[in-house]
């Protein structure tokens, strides 16, 4: 009933309990990320200390080691190439389809729509088994191609789902006016609707990029060394009995930090996208 008192009083100052709760939430979320970063920056002996030190002794040794090894840089570069190409391809294929789904009624549209969204439920392990056999036969294992293609299995449905919503937000009358003026469907799409959804497409692009960047199972099974991606490289530190925590966390930081900053900067718009238009 404290809430009762609070809202009937003057609305201004933060209550002590509010600050404590807020601090608790923030610490719980941020602390593990902080711990990852400092474990990558401190000497390994300090990591093993039975009484953990909250403020680390800083050394760049692990980063030096990691960057000299080369696999990490290769992995990050591969991640950039694969995630960017997958995102671009998914947008090129998915956005026009979303436009048609948002604007036109046709036979079996609901079935098509259902098929596209039910892709979200399909476990990647179901997809990767046959894909692996096909990729072996076509000698596509450990290439960018196979990664970009298999990422479309989740990227296209994701784009369609997000973009249908974005096109629906544009009044239909605009299209009708264009049709009266004699513009073709494709022209209306390219010249009128596409520019209007462009800002929200950047949100879709970021979400798909992050999903590709973070993906593990496909990359683990379909890459070996040439096309190995960031998460697989990070996972590599798990093998053997002596885990090299420093280099492992330095690599983890390199994989995670860029996208954390990226998403934090766009946080407001992303949440809506992630909720997949369920909230209007």
């Amino acid at each position: 009933m404290k809430i009762n008192l609070r809202s009937s009083r003057k609305r201004s100052k933060l209550k002590v309990w509010e600050i404590i709760v807020g601090g608790g939430i923030a610490t719980t979320i941020v602390f593990p990320i902080y711990w990852m970063i400092i474990t990558g920056l401190r000497p390994q002996t300090e990591t093993f200390s039975p009484t953990p030190k909250l403020i680390p002794t800083i050394t760049l040794d692990h980063y030096k080691e990691v960057l000299e090894e080369g696999t990490v840089l290769q992995g990050l570069w591969n991640s950039i190439v694969v995630a960017t190409s997958s995102t671009v391809l998914a947008l090129i294929l998915g956005v026009p389809a979303a436009y048609v789904l948002a604007r036109w009624e046709f036979k079996r549209k609901s079935d098509l729509w259902f098929w596209i969204i039910s892709n979200r439920f399909i476990s990647p392990i179901v997809v990767v088994l046959p894909f692996f056999l096909i990729a072996i036969n076509l000698q596509l294992v450990d290439t960018y191609w196979v990664m970009i293609i298999i990422y479309q299995t989740f990227a296209i449905p994701f784009v369609v789902w997000l973009s249908v919503d974005q096109f629906r937000a544009i009044p239909k009358e605009i299209d009708e006016a264009a049709a009266v003026d004699g513009a073709s469907i494709i022209k209306t799409f390219l010249k009128i609707d596409l520019p209007l959804v462009f800002p929200s497409l950047s949100v879709s692009a970021v979400l798909i990029f992050v999903a590709c960047w973070n993906e593990l199972l496909f990359a683990q099974i379909l890459t070996r060394s040439e096309a190995i991606t960031g998460p697989v490289v990070a996972l590599g530190y798990m093998s053997g009995y002596d885990i090299r925590w420093g280099p492992m966390m330095a690599t983890s930081t390199l994989v995670v930090l860029p996208i954390i900053l990226f998403t934090a900067a766009l946080s407001r718009n992303l949440v809506r996208g992630l909720a997949m238009g369920a909230i209007k």
Partner: protein, 300 residues
């Protein structure tokens, strides 16, 4: 998703040009491999014995899967995980959402909302690796904190129950903030006048929440229920990086189990495919049920 009952003319050719590329692409990369998987699942197909003939087995692989306890154990572990983690995340997410929504300080509330976004972006593989670091039984910070309240060091990776609790904690750390953000967005939709009027009728505190805010949260709950169920059924990365399904099979979710059969020691892709097809049937059934139950309610 409003579907008009009026008969629609055929789709114009140029609209088809826009629609078909992605439909065809999805068909080729989605349906074709699946049919191949069905074919493989009826064979004796082990990559470790590549030179042996791939004899036709009929439904033998399926019978093996359905009669061996391992598959059911993996499913049971997955659904136990779902039944514990999902309500936990929804309840905590609701509490955080209501707390942030009611904050009178705009700067604190927007700061917290940016912080809530952070775990969502963390690569799940890295969440698992980070879990290994902080749950380490010798120098992990969790055991250190637990020692303050007199708890003996927990063998997080060696004890079956502890490992299961740890993966729930990791998933909850990563996805409760997402739940909170979605629910805050739902609360933001309530028009201020409606809320003021509601305060007069329902009073404040719990009643206000129950009668005024809760109905607005329902679409958010539905979205979270669907998305998180799908994600948990697919879950692989975090757990693989954290425990590889161990100790024993304590944290071996169904994706990890199928992965072990299909790509592990025996490379039994035939058996793995049969398992994958069965999992697919379960997923499709569940998604149909979910979308039928919930989406209708939202759309009407």
């Amino acid at each position: 998703m409003k579907i008009e009952k009026v008969k629609q003319p055929k789709l114009p050719t140029s609209a088809r040009l826009l629609l078909y590329p992605s439909v065809i692409a999805l068909f080729i990369i989605g349906i074709f491999p699946l049919l191949f998987a069905v074919w493989v699942s009826t064979r004796q197909y082990q990559l470790s014995k590549a030179y042996e003939p791939k004899t036709f087995l009929g439904l033998d692989n399926y019978i093996t899967v359905l009669t061996s306890p391992e598959f059911w154990v993996a499913l049971r572990i997955t659904f136990t995980f779902l039944i514990i983690a999902l309500p936990l995340q929804l309840i905590m997410g609701t509490l955080i959402a209501v707390y942030i929504y009611n904050l009178k300080s705009p700067s604190l509330s927007s700061l917290l909302r940016v912080i809530l976004v952070l775990p969502i972006a963390v690569t799940p593989t890295i969440t698992g690796l980070l879990g290994r670091l902080i749950f380490n039984s010798e120098f992990g910070i969790i055991n250190y904190f637990l020692s303050f309240i007199g708890i003996q060091p927990v063998q997080w990776l060696a004890d079956q129950r502890a490992a299961f609790i740890a993966i729930i904690i990791l998933d909850t750390w990563q996805w409760t903030p997402f739940a909170a953000l979605v629910l805050i967005a739902s609360l933001m939709v309530i028009p201020p006048q409606v809320l003021e009027a509601g305060k007069l009728d329902a009073g404040t505190g719990f009643n206000l929440f129950r009668y005024m805010q809760f109905p607005f949260l329902l679409p958010g709950f539905t979205a979270l229920l669907i998305l998180r169920t799908a994600d948990i059924l697919k879950m692989y990365d975090t757990v693989y990086a954290f425990s590889k399904g161990g100790p024993g099979v304590a944290t071996e979710l169904v994706s990890l189990y199928i992965n072990r059969i299909g790509f592990g020691k025996t490379f039994d892709i035939g058996l793995g495919s049969a398992q994958a097809i069965l999992l697919l049937i379960i997923c499709i059934g569940l998604s149909r049920a979910y979308i039928k139950i919930f989406y209708r309610e939202i759309q009407v």
